[in-house]
């Protein structure tokens, strides 16, 4: 067992973990942060994406011990005081989720994408999300959501926003 100290969604945790324990299992099994899910065994799907010191990582590809001394943010730490993060709000406004399984990872990756490139083209959004798979949406509305969060006019989604606000 190895002792680790880390911050997750703003709270500090100290725990003893097996060296082979994956960060995603630590989050889920030890901290009960089940908002972060596992979708594959090969780091292809990105469903487990979280932020490690503000940058996106696939938490199935990080050992819990590697997060020692670092700060982790999951989907559960994004909203503050009941206020959705703009990316969460954009996913809702653009109907960018169906079954919801890829959603936490997709949102965490999309936020990182805009950190790198606040005004991405559609092509840059699509390539920036390449490591996150969705089987329900065909990505169409996910791209709209990222455009919306980036403050770009996003075609059909803009009309959606107006009508849902009225």
């Amino acid at each position: 067992m190895t002792r680790i100290t880390l911050t997750v969604d703003g709270a500090k945790y100290i725990d003893d973990v097996e060296p082979r324990m994956l960060l995603v299992h630590f989050l889920r099994e030890r901290l009960g942060k089940t908002g972060t899910v596992v979708g594959c065994d090969t780091s292809n799907c990105g469903a487990c994406t979280v932020h490690l010191d503000g940058r996106s990582v696939k938490s199935c590809n990080v050992l819990a011990v590697q997060s020692d001394g670092h700060e982790v943010t999951t989907i559960e730490g994004l909203a503050s005081n009941g206020e959705l993060h703009p990316m969460q709000a954009a996913f809702h406004e653009c109907h960018a989720l169906q079954c919801g399984y890829c959603t936490p990872g997709m949102i965490m990756q999309a936020i990182d994408l805009l950190q790198d490139n606040p005004s991405p083209s559609e092509e840059e959004i699509r390539s920036g999300l390449e490591g996150n798979l969705c089987r329900c949406t065909g990505y169409h509305n996910i791209v709209r959501a990222v455009q919306t969060a980036a403050g770009q006019p996003a075609g059909g989604a803009a009309a959606t926003l107006e009508e849902s606000a009225s």
Binding site: E18, R20, M21, R28, G32, T34, G35, T36, V37, V38, G39, C40, D41, T42, N44, C45, A47, I75, E76, L78, A79, L84, Q88, F91, H92, E93, H95, L97, Q98, C99, G100, Y101, C102, T103, P104, I107, E122, I125, R126, S127, L129, E130, G131, N132, L133, C134, R135, C136, T137, G138, Y139, H140, N141, I142, V143, G156, A159, T160, E163, S164
Partner: protein
């Protein structure tokens, strides 16, 4: 103004956006504390006699049990998944001396922790004595090696329609082609998972089982049958489900076993498969070898069509064995063809069972006829859109029954085709294609068209349950027997109830997926939910209003017939006296002060419905490498009136993406010994956002006469229309080089080889 047809954003979203959904593996129910973790030891050979020794593994610390078939000898085999599958082709609980596909469960290990399960699985000793693996369905059909000697044949089922006698007599042109509708994997992002606990003793013992399923009531009945229990002894819960796409309809043997293990060990149990297990064992879709033959006149009239289907059912027949029936039923597609004949046969092979996958039998039918029509058009040198126009069922012909016995309810196929062709600017695309060809551009343009019709909520007329409960506080709870897992019923069904009750959707909640809370239900699959479940909610709401008018009449001391519902004010008054309004709360409380007003209803449709549409795909093909890039998809998908455009567009987008993926990328492959070659998402070409374009959706709504909402199913439409449009586009791009067909997925290598072969052939 009615809320129906307006863009209402989903009410179910906030949880998924903030804390994530609660899928089976996320459950922290205290009844599951101390649960054993189940790990399945799976066959690494496709066909072999096996001897299992789990004693070394069983002796290790932290191992609660190692269970093999011998330990379950007292149990009757699990029932076959569908009634008409021959029982001799049923699967055992665990491999019974013979394994028939890579991934088949051989032993179940129960451990204290999940990590330990994977360690211990390595220590179970399995001796394999190889048998001849039958991987190719054409080899299977020869019956040289029988997978189930007791059955005496590898054929599970066969269907046929129409006569082959003189089928193509009198045709000026006859074109034939073998087509592989390849095996693909459903790949819901959430893999299969199950948790269960028994409470009570002896005959009072009751099982609560959570599983990632599309059909909780059906799954409950399957478990009750397999375990010889009264269904009341099983409480089945579908928590949030991370995608199903047909493959999660019902339960799998791994789910059933969990209940057995839990009972025997006296512990709650959990099981969550890995992605590799999911790719090996959940089942695959499609997997048909087809031969199409199409004949007609040189002026473009198609007069005869035959479709021969050899369905690969995989090792233990499941839905896949039955898919050819749906393929047969939809064989003629949107075309009025005088003579048609279909022959189908489903055979077993040493591969994973073939299950339902989005479209389930209809995409295969559409892919076949749409390729055939394109080949016919190419042969006579007519534009494929024009050939379609000359053969579509006329708008005035509906309702009609096709040559293969499908009762099409309503349609305007030419209208859909015209709309999509106009929206895609088809003529401009053709001009651009010609310009590129003339200039020697190596980036060739391909334009593909499909016209499709499919069947939803069929083949028999369906039924669905709804309960409307108006609470004494005036809020409403809608219970439905459908089981959404992304389809937005909590929003759409609330809209349906709101529209009739005059209660805002913010005060309406929708309950589903729990067999104790919902009396009965058919689940969500086959695009049945809105037209059956939604229609049931609509019917229930109307009946609730009728009942409430009687109750209000009592309050007013007036006849029910004189009481009217003022939807804008959410209350009742006597006609002509609008000032004295009794709200829903008061009226519901007058029915029952504690529970309010409860109305149960079952809606039965007059028949299956037939959504239709037309797609145009545009691809760019690199003539030097064969690489295909999808430039655009424009689609008309007509499923009748739209209740919530937001949800319907999402269903179309997702379906189109999956249809495109089959045409361009995805294929489950086995080598000749039955070793799977695509066991994870690194090997399997599941597309990301980077491989797909935006989709252009064109609206069209032709009502069905078969339910009061006029609606049809939209869940599978995109998948059905998109695949042939894209495949046709790829062939179209290189047709001038002499290519007449390219198999799916149309990978760069396949396209490049097709070009080379055509050049060789031209020499």
């Amino acid at each position: 103004m009615s809320i129906l047809g307006t863009r209402v954003m989903r009410v179910e979203d906030p949880k998924f956006l903030t804390t994530g959904g609660v899928y089976v593996d996320d459950l922290r129910d205290p009844r599951l504390d101390g649960a054993g973790h189940v790990t399945y030891v799976r066959s690494v050979m496709a066909h072999a006699r096996v001897t299992v020794d789990g004693s070394a593994a069983a002796a290790l610390d932290g191992v609660l049990a190692v269970v093999t078939r011998a330990d379950l000898a007292d149990l009757a085999p699990p029932p076959v998944p569908l009634g008409f599958i021959p029982p001799a082709l049923g699967r055992p609980w665990l491999a019974d001396g013979v394994v028939r596909y890579v991934g088949e469960p051989i032993a179940a290990i129960v451990t204290e922790s999940r990590y330990a399960g994977e360690d211990v699985a390595e220590l179970v000793s399995v001796d394999y004595e190889p048998l001849t693996a039958v991987v190719d369905p054409r080899v299977s059909a020869t019956d040289e090696t029988l997978l189930f000697p007791d059955h005496g044949s590898n054929t599970a089922l066969a269907f046929e329609a129409g006569s082959l006698d003189g089928l193509f007599d009198g045709c000026d042109v006859v074109v034939t082609q073998q087509i592989t509708n390849q095996r693909v994997a459903p790949v819901p992002l959430e893999v299969r998972g199950t948790a269960c606990v028994w409470e009570g003793d002896g005959d009072d013992a009751r099982l609560t089982l959570w599983a990632s399923t599309q059909s909780p009531h059906g799954a409950r009945d399957q478990i009750a049958t397999a375990l010889s229990l009264d269904p009341d002894r099983v409480h089945f819960i579908a928590p949030d489900v991370g995608g199903g796409f047909g493959a999660k309809f019902g339960v799998s043997v791994e789910d059933l076993l969990l209940a057995v293990l839990s009972r025997r060990l006296g512990r709650p149990m959990r099981w969550t498969e890995t992605r590799t297990e999911n790719m090996l064992g959940m089942g695959h879709g499609r997997a048909q070898l087809q031969t199409v033959t199409i004949g007609g006149s040189r002026d473009g009239r198609i007069t005869a069509y035959s479709l021969d289907v050899l369905q690969d059912s995989g090792a233990y027949p499941h839905f896949g064995a039955v898919l050819p029936f749906m393929t047969q039923l939809m064989a003629t597609g949107t075309y009025d063809i005088e003579r048609i004949a279909v022959r189908t046969k489903s055979v077993v092979t040493n591969t994973a069972p073939v299950v339902a996958y989005r479209g389930a039998g209809r995409p295969e039918a559409t892919a076949a006829i749409e390729r055939a029509v394109d080949m016919f058009a190419a042969e006579i040198g007519l534009d494929p859109v024009e050939v379609r126009r000359r053969n579509l069922f006329a708008k005035e012909a509906f309702p009609l029954t096709t040559q293969v016995g499908a009762a099409y309810d309503s349609g305007d196929y030419a209208g859909a085709l015209d709309k999509v062709v106009a929206a895609a600017k088809y003529d401009e695309l053709r001009a651009e294609q010609q310009r590129r060809r003339d200039s020697g551009d190596t980036k060739l343009l391909g334009i593909g068209v499909s016209s499709y019709v499919e069947i939803t909520a069929g083949p028999e007329a369906g039924t669905e349950f709804a309960r409307i409960n108006v609470k004494p506080d005036g809020s409403v709870v809608v219970y439905t027997g459908t089981s959404p897992h992304g389809q937005g019923h909590a929003t759409s069904f609330a809209m349906l109830a709101a529209d009739e009750l005059g209660v805002p959707i913010e005060r309406i909640t929708v309950v589903h997926g729990d067999t104790d809370l919902v009396a009965r239900g058919g689940g969500t699959g086959g695009s049945r939910s809105l037209q059956l479940g939604g229609a049931a909610v609509h019917q229930g709401a109307l009946e609730t209003v009728d009942r409430a008018r009687e109750l209000a009449g009592d309050l007013f001391e007036a006849a029910a017939g004189d009481v009217v519902l003022d939807k804008a004010r959410g209350g009742f008054h006597v006609a002509g006296s609008p000032d004295d309004v009794r709200g829903w709360a008061e009226v519901a409380a007058s029915a029952d002060a504690e529970h309010g007003l409860i109305v149960d209803t079952d809606f039965t449709a007059q028949g299956a419905t037939f959504p239709f549409g037309a797609h145009v795909a545009v691809v760019e093909v690199d003539a030097e490498t064969g690489k295909v890039t999808l430039l655009s998809m424009t689609t008309v998908d007509d499923a009748g009136p739209v209740i919530n455009p937001v949800v319907v567009e999402g269903q179309r987008h997702g379906g189109i993406a999956q249809g495109v993926a089959q045409a361009l990328f995805e294929e489950v492959r086995y080598d000749e010994d039955g070793n799977p070659q695509s066991t994870n998402l690194a090997d399997y070409a599941f597309p990301s956002a980077a491989e797909l374009p935006d989709f252009t959706l064109v609206d069209m709504a032709t009502p069905s006469p078969l339910n009061p909402l006029g609606v049809k199913g939209i869940g599978e439409a995109g998948t059905i229309g998109a695949t042939p449009a894209v495949q046709n586009a790829v062939v179209d791009a290189v047709a001038h080089l002499g290519v007449r067909h390219v198999e799916m997925p149309t990978t760069a290598e396949r396209v490049w080889r097709a070009i080379q072969d055509a050049r060789e052939g031209a020499k």
